[in-house]
């Protein structure tokens, strides 16, 4: 290598390099970033080298190991140029085929392409992958184009041109003005305008000045600085050179942590190469400017990212911050003026100089210019580095680029800015991301970490995690940082372990404010942010931990014991009955279920199984099939004609009336009967079971199974009177006169909502619920050949699948996409299997009728727009996209509301505007003494398990009311009632066990009858499945045992 004398020489070298590169017919780039290395790219790369050599292609085909491409989720990543064919998850055994097919014949190998999760579309070219196409990769793009260890590569794409431009044609102040004009702000977090910082440093008194590149990236989950240093170290060097020239610095330091060995190596190589070409040293490119750079390795203390601590670390002292002023630009390294910028800031400089400040300033928002790299990690489909213009909305980052949340889980929050940042809830999804907006909502940009959290993340636990991190990483110099964080952690730990008190929250806030106010450096001042933002947006969750001993995410061990039991509204001891099944003790398993749940056969079939969503086995694998196991146990009892033993306590005189025999009514009746009360259930319909009997088709819930459960309820001492309607046959007043001391209203939500579109009153437009009810009661229904169903909930799917069984051609019309459908996943899939058509993003506009008889439905196409408060995207109509779907019948299933017309004048004030009955949700008591209500009549349409839960709560309250004690609900820590030995499992079983598949009837047998679709697990399958359970409750039992023993020991002593 020769030293380049001037910019002319650089340009000549560049031209030569470019022409030399044209002799290659193809370039294979392999991502050699740390992420892809972890995926095993090194073996793949070796295979490529061997294969190219074997085929004697190494002169025509260039193999290039590049820096991080950003799409780390899909590594190892290989891109074949010039076409830009994008292969993901490439294994060594794919190499031969890639060379023979794609490199030599330009044929695409389908199986290595990226598949878009939503649409299933295969994408061939890198630039078309949505993850990339929605980004604006000013800095990261070059990572995929060059070999970081080749300065020639960097020069060939125009590297060091900006330096040449600055040295040959710009005065120092001109450079600073340019940077000021661009509006570039520090990418390390605080967002101080870079140009002004440079100016301060330039104007500071002193002959010797330094520039420092801050590469001490320590936020959990953030790795963009590492990727830039690893993948394009020369861009950082060039930025530092330009900065040093503008400021008048002679020496620079790159401060990198030792945990980044690849970054340390690559920047070291880059410095050597730059020195050989004469970009470092004296008289750079012939100008009167000399500069040298040295790498300084940090030992990985988080606080050393703070500039005064970083300086102390370079000087060889303890990495501890110092009070500013004086600022480093006045007195920094060895008390000389020092300018510190973050890696990403430096990498932006050459771009601004090359393309101009005006070009840069038009990207981004008013006060935040340019792009920002975020590392998108956590519960997100596309983990990786994303570079987006400032002002992109959070929702776009999470959903469009990040691909949403894995496993169809709910988005809960996104944490920006690392431990010093804050958690932003789903209401913020529409927020444009820039410095101001993030600060406004209580977070910070930080270096750009973005941790996505789903519903299985507990906000108290997250606060605990970050505080633990900060307590460890605080240098400990300031008293308020050291002790303040420790005390905050103590309080949060108390809350997460069930010892919290409500006034803890205020103390926490008070303390957090003082820590924020009084500590010396950025670490301490921002350390309360995770707590403060969690309290700002999720205080309810904190309070729930304290008052209800409930962790809705199922995370906080001491409260939860096992998430399945904790999450179940009935507190069903799933972990225990699963353990019993694993030992083959099926009858006992059924008893455990029946202890808490009056309707095991029903729940074993139609429960929305929140327990499975929270199951820990699902965190890194597949959740236990809890519902299928429950069904197995209840089927066992059914076959044995076994009813749970009657556990009635002492006889009590008082009579209680229950209105409605749905899940809420039955469960309240059962609970009260067990306590010894005289319970009568009044049911308006001719059959008992409410919505279970008439709303759910029998292919999902066979009548025999339902009746077995109802039989068990009756067996506990409950009388059920059918065909007795409140308001027609009986009245509240009348019941009171008949001596009923308490009344529980559980009349459900049976009235379907209207669409509110023109023509709705035409013949052939039927409410889906009425349709299902008529079918279930064996009444005749007139149904046309072409049936449309509007809605995406369980009722819509039920109606559609029932219509299909009546020989109709069924189309479901839903205004959002499949991912947003509220119906149970397995139901949607079942419907698709049976051949039901689904039109997504389609909304009804008007019903077309001839002679008041429906002939079709005019629909309009929708597209998903902004996010609403539920975190789902609001559909918006696309004008001019109207189409007509010919239909003979239209089933409407757009939600239900309670029919509370039976409520007379006297009790009118119990009903809310939306026709639901108002109760105290804690106790189910209405304002009227002695009258309680629960289930869908209170909540509007909800799940079976919630209704059963409401019934049980109401029963407790009614009991308290009848005993004359104050009505209040008590909460306790979740614990199993018995200990069951764990089973022994071989390593092989552990590794090979998979979730038990629920077998279904073949489609051809399904669509001609109402036979139950889901088949039961076999005995062997059930035991095998139960053995997979992680038995979360055992960990705590052991701990509790230890505590008890140590307490006993202490008392003996």
């Amino acid at each position: 290598m020769i030293k380049l004398k001037n910019s002319q020489a650089l340009e000549e070298l560049r031209t030569e390099l470019v022409s030399r590169r044209q002799m290659y017919s193809a370039v294979i780039t392999i991502c050699a970033g740390t992420g892809c290395r972890a995926w095993g790219m090194e073996k793949t790369a070796e295979m490529f080298t061997a294969e190219l050599r074997a085929r004697k292609l190494d002169k025509q085909v260039k193999l290039k190991m590049t820096g991080c491409h950003g799409f780390c989720e899909r590594g190892p990543i290989v891109v074949i140029k010039p076409d830009g064919i994008f292969y993901q998850k490439v294994k060594p055994e794919d190499v031969k085929e890639i060379v023979s097919e794609t490199v030599l014949n330009r044929r695409v190998i389908e199986r290595l392409l990226y598949v878009e999760p939503g649409t299933g579309k295969k994408i061939t070219y890198e630039k078309e992958v949505p993850f990339y196409s929605l980004q604006q990769r000013l800095i990261l793009d070059d990572n995929g184009a060059i070999d970081p260890n080749s300065i020639d590569d960097y020069i060939a794409i125009g590297g060091y041109c900006a330096l040449a431009k600055v040295l040959s044609s710009m005065a120092q102040q001109e450079v600073i003005e340019e940077i000021k004009k661009s509006g570039l702000r520090g990418r390390g977090g605080a967002g101080f305008p870079t140009g002004y910082k440079w100016e301060f440093c330039r104007k500071a008194k002193g002959d010797i000045k330094y520039v420092i590149c801050n590469g001490d990236e320590g936020d959990p989950g953030a790795y963009m600085d590492r990727s830039v240093l690893e993948g394009n170290p020369h861009s950082v060097l060039e930025g530092m050179l330009i900065g040093a020239y503008a400021i008048g610095a002679q020496k620079g330091f790159v401060y990198v942590r030792s945990e980044y060995p690849l970054a340390v190596r690559n920047i070291g190589i880059a410095i050597e190469q730059a020195r050989k070409y004469g970009f470092l040293g004296e008289n750079i490119l012939g100008a009167e400017f000399g500069f040298n750079v040295q790498v300084s390795r940090g030992a990985g203390a988080f606080v050393c990212g703070e500039e005064t601590a970083l300086i102390a670390s370079i000087e060889g002292r303890r990495g501890e911050p110092k009070q500013r002023p004086p600022f480093p630009v006045q007195k920094g390294l060895w008390r000389k003026p020092t300018n510190i910028n973050n890696v990403e800031t430096w990498a932006n400089i050459p771009l601004i100089v090359k393309k101009g400040a005006d070009w840069f300033a038009q990207i981004g928002t008013e006060k935040s210019k340019g792009t920002k790299i975020f590392s998108l990690v956590g519960k997100i489909n596309n983990t990786g580095l994303v570079e987006i213009p400032m002002g992109t909305s959070l929702g776009q980052i999470v959903y469009d680029i990040g691909g949403g949340i894995p496993g169809g889980k709910q988005f809960k929050a996104v944490q920006t800015g690392g431990p010093s940042g804050g958690c932003l809830p789903r209401e913020m999804l529409n927020m444009p991301v820039d410095y101001e907006k993030l600060a406004e909502v209580g977070s910070i940009m930080g270096s750009g970490g973005m941790i996505v959290m789903d519903e299985k993340t507990c906000m108290v636990d997250i606060s605990k995690y970050f505080l633990t991190f900060l307590l460890d990483e605080s240098c400990g110099k300031c008293f308020t940082c050291r002790k303040g964080i420790q005390r905050m952690l103590e309080i949060v730990t108390d809350i997460s372990e069930g010892r919290g008190k409500l006034n803890n929250i205020n103390l926490l806030k008070e303390l957090a404010q003082v820590v924020k106010d009084t500590t010396m450096c950025g670490l301490g001042q921002t350390s309360p942010n995770p707590v403060l933002s969690a309290l700002r947006y999720f205080q309810e969750e904190y309070e729930e931990h304290i008052t209800k001993k409930k962790c809705r995410a199922g995370v906080c061990k001491e409260l939860v014991s096992s998430p399945c039991q904790h999450t179940c509204p009935l507190g069903t001891e799933a972990c225990v009955y699963i353990a019993l099944i694993s030992h083959g003790r099926f009858k006992e398993a059924y008893d455990i279920i029946a202890k808490d749940n009056p309707l095991p056969s029903v729940c074993g079939r139609v429960c929305s199984h929140p327990c499975e969503t929270k199951c820990r086995a699902g965190d890194a694998g597949e959740a236990i099939a809890i519902r299928a196991l429950k069904r197995f146990a209840s089927d066992y009892a059914y076959k044995q004609k076994y009813l749970p033993p009657k556990t009635t306590s002492s006889y009590k005189e008082a009579k209680v009336a229950i209105i409605g025999s749905g899940p809420a009514g039955l469960s309240a009746a059962w609970s009260l009967a067990q306590k010894g009360y005289q319970v009568t259930v009044f049911e308006a319909l001719p059959v008992a079971g409410g919505m279970l009997a008439v709303g759910i088709p029998s292919y999902r819930l066979p009548k025999a199974a339902l009746n077995h459960d109802i039989e068990a309820v009756k067996n506990s001492g409950v009388t059920i009177k059918t065909s007795t309607r409140l308001g027609r046959d009986i009245t509240i007043q009348g019941l009171k006169q008949d001596g009923f001391k308490a009344i529980f209203i559980a009349t459900g939500a049976h009235r379907g909502k209207h669409l509110g579109i023109p023509g709705e009153s035409a013949q052939g437009v039927i409410d889906a619920l009425d349709f299902l009810k008529d079918i279930n009661l064996g009444r005749k229904v007139r149904l046309g050949k072409r049936v449309g169903v509007i809605g995406g909930g369980n009722s819509a799917i039920d109606a559609a699948r029932t219509a299909l069984r009546l020989n109709a051609e069924v189309t479901i019309i839903y205004r959002r996409t499949k991912a947003e459908m509220p119906a149970l996943r397995e139901e949607v899939e079942g419907a698709l299997d049976e051949g039901i058509k689904m039109l997504f993003l389609t909304a009804p506009g008007r019903v077309i009728a001839q002679e008041n008889e429906i002939t079709g439905l005019e629909c309009v196409k929708m597209r998903l727009g902004e996010f609403d408060d539920s975190g789902r995207r609001k559909p918006a109509a696309i004008p001019g996209s109207e189409t007509i779907i010919p239909l003979d019948t239209l089933l409407v299933a757009v939600g239900e509301e309670p029919d509370t017309s039976f409520i007379n004048e006297e009790l009118k004030n119990l009903v809310a505007v939306n026709k639901t009955i108002v109760v105290n949700p804690e106790t189910m008591a209405t304002k009227e003494p002695g009258i309680f209500a629960g289930g869908d009549a209170v909540t509007g349409p909800a799940t079976v398990i919630d209704a059963i839960g409401a019934g049980k709560i109401a029963a407790e309250s009614i009991c308290q009311y009848l005993e004359g004690s104050p009505i209040a609900r008590e909460y306790s820590l979740t614990r199993p009632s018995v200990y069951i030995d764990p089973v022994e499992i071989s390593e092989e079983e552990m590794l090979t066990a998979r979730r038990a598949e629920t077998k279904t009837l073949p489609v051809k047998d399904r669509i001609c009858s109402y036979a139950e679709v889901d088949l039961a697990l076999s005995k062997e399958a059930a035991i095998k499945e139960a053995r997979r359970c992680l038995r979360c409750e055992l960990e705590l039992l052991k701990k509790d045992e230890g505590k008890k023993q140590s307490m006993e020991k202490a008392s003996v002593n």
Partner: protein, 226 residues
């Protein structure tokens, strides 16, 4: 000379003085635990925080390390300052309940409760001893080790120091590990006994070894008179 405003009063300070020095020169009291004349400012205890800047954009800064700046507005006892100081004292009391210095300060600021889990540490890591040893005794026998809540003070590698001359300077400046109030019940943050009409410590023999938060207390005076 630098002109600045402290608590609304226009004052002057020599270039290079800190806000703490300036305030004390004018007789304004600011409590400190890690500051001692003759030792370099350190800014660790945060008790000396003062509010600086214009009302709307003001912030708290430790006065012992903040240089007097031309035109700066300083408030040494604003509501925000007092609130912060009280919380810091409460935290101190929770960690070192038996330090007389801390008890006295807590008493002065009217702290009557302590809401954190009681600890019994004998060090607040103010670093006075480390600086004393280095700057005044030129020994550098002790220094800090560890990080965060594992931070501590000791000799290198916890070995008996060869440079220590057992001068006792470190103990002399320590606000926490000096003689303690032995009457105080360990589980109670503030003894408060001396606020009684007949203080219980009167019955103890060596009362002058005791630390209590009323300084000097009734009991001491009665005893001294005898």
């Amino acid at each position: 000379m630098i002109n600045l405003k402290i608590n609304g009063i226009s004052v002057q300070a020599e270039a290079g003085t800190t806000l703490l020095e300036a305030a004390r020169f004018y007789g304004l009291e600011i409590p400190t635990l890690c500051h001692l004349e003759g030792l370099s400012p350190y800014g660790a205890c945060r008790l000396c925080v003062v509010e600086i800047g214009e009302e709307s954009r003001s912030r708290l800064a430790s006065s012992c390390t903040y240089p007097a700046e031309e035109g700066l507005k300083v408030r040494t006892a604003s509501e925000r300052v007092i609130k912060a100081r009280k919380m810091i004292l409460e935290l101190l009391l929770a960690s070192c309940p038996q330090s007389k210095v801390i008890q006295d300060l807590a008493s002065k600021y009217g702290i009557r409760r302590q809401r954190f889990r009681q600890e019994h540490e004998d060090c607040i890591l103010c670093g006075l001893c480390v600086r004393m040893c280095k700057e005044q005794m030129s020994a550098q026998a002790i220094g800090f080790h560890g990080r965060g809540n594992k931070r501590g003070i000791s000799t290198p590698f916890d070995l008996k120091s060869e440079v220590c001359r057992l001068c006792g300077g470190c103990i002399h400046v320590c606000p926490a590990c000096q003689l303690r109030c032995t009457y105080n019940q360990p589980e109670e943050a503030i003894c408060g006994g001396c606020a009684n009409i007949s203080p219980p410590c009167l019955e103890k023999e060596k009362f002058h070894d005791m630390m209590c938060y009323m300084d000097p207390c009734v009991a001491c005076e009665i005893k001294n008179e005898k």
